[in-house]
């Protein structure tokens, strides 16, 4: 278990380098995307999603097992009203801060101390949601 965590760390490192080297953690690039004035972000999504889908097809087709020898299994997300309200709320924050959760960590790592404030605010948001969860429509 412990050894494997380094594998997840390594995958995170590669993911993080890719996000920052492709400018996917840039506030400016997000505004460009939301204004349909550049292709970089669309290009990333339009190649990432099919790459993942084709890889999963290959895994299923050849019944490739995990490192532990287990079959690969995907737990599907069950729809509830939060899938409507949550993304609307998240979208506002995404456009204002120019970051979704992943890029916040990447920005901090790149030396932007102000992103620590974004992270603390996001943690506060997650905490308040958790607290209010029983009272919110789902």
């Amino acid at each position: 278990m412990k050894k494997k965590n380094f594998l997840f760390l390594l995958l995170g490192v590669i993911f993080g380098i890719t996000l920052i080297k492709s400018d996917a953690v840039s506030w400016f690039r997000m505004q460009e995307m939301f204004r349909f004035q550049g292709f970089q972000m669309y290009g990333i999504f339009m190649t990432a999603i099919p790459t993942a889908a084709i890889s999963l097809f290959i895994i299923r087709k050849f019944k490739i097992k995990t490192l532990d020898g287990e079959p690969v299994k995907i737990i599907k997300k069950k729809f509830h009203l939060g899938f409507i309200f949550g993304p609307i709320i998240f979208g506002i924050g995404w456009a204002l801060t120019g970051t979704c959760p992943g890029p916040i960590y990447v920005q901090i790592g790149s030396g932007l101390s102000i992103a620590i404030l974004t992270l603390l605010s996001a943690l506060a948001g997650t905490w308040v949601y958790s607290y209010l969860k029983p009272k919110l429509p789902h």
């Binding site: 760390l9 492709s22 400018d23 996917a24 550049g38 890889s55 506002i92 992943g102 992270l119 948001g125």
Partner: protein, 188 residues
Amino acid sequence: MNLFDLLRQPWPWYVAGPIIGLTVPLLLLAGNKMLGISSSLRHVCAICFPGDVSFLKYNWKEQLWNIFFAAGLLIGGFIGGVLLKPVTPMPLSEATTKTLNSFGISNTQPLLPTEIFSWAHLFTWQHLLIVIGGGFLVGFGTRYGNGCTSGHGIFGLSTFQWPSLVAVILFFASGILTSHFILPLLLK
């Protein structure tokens, strides 16, 4: 050109997209883990300040991989942003540069506009609303909606989950409206 110079350049979408996409099968093969980053915020809350909140009381030790992945993002940010800092950054489109200039944002080069995201310029109510208010909404909305750009946008869509498609359409539409109508109000 050596490898270091090559890696140091900004990476085009056709290099970055496939690497990001491959993370999905690699996490599954490494241990049936489903790509998603916003959950790490919940785990941090559960580890550091669970209080008396039932949603934050669960065995987070089983989800430690997600914290390791997030820690990897921090390290990746350092490697990509400091060690592999590009000599010439990827240019921003002229149209976006013009729009942002009209909002009083002149320097469009680093990752964040220093006119908003810097300790010197943070303390106006508009800027606090953008940074702290925006950050709060990211944390609140991703948990309420059960995912973010990676969990719904990359993982959910590539595994053909319709609830994720609903989420992606809505957070995208909401982002477009915010960028066009709310952000200008806060910057002028």
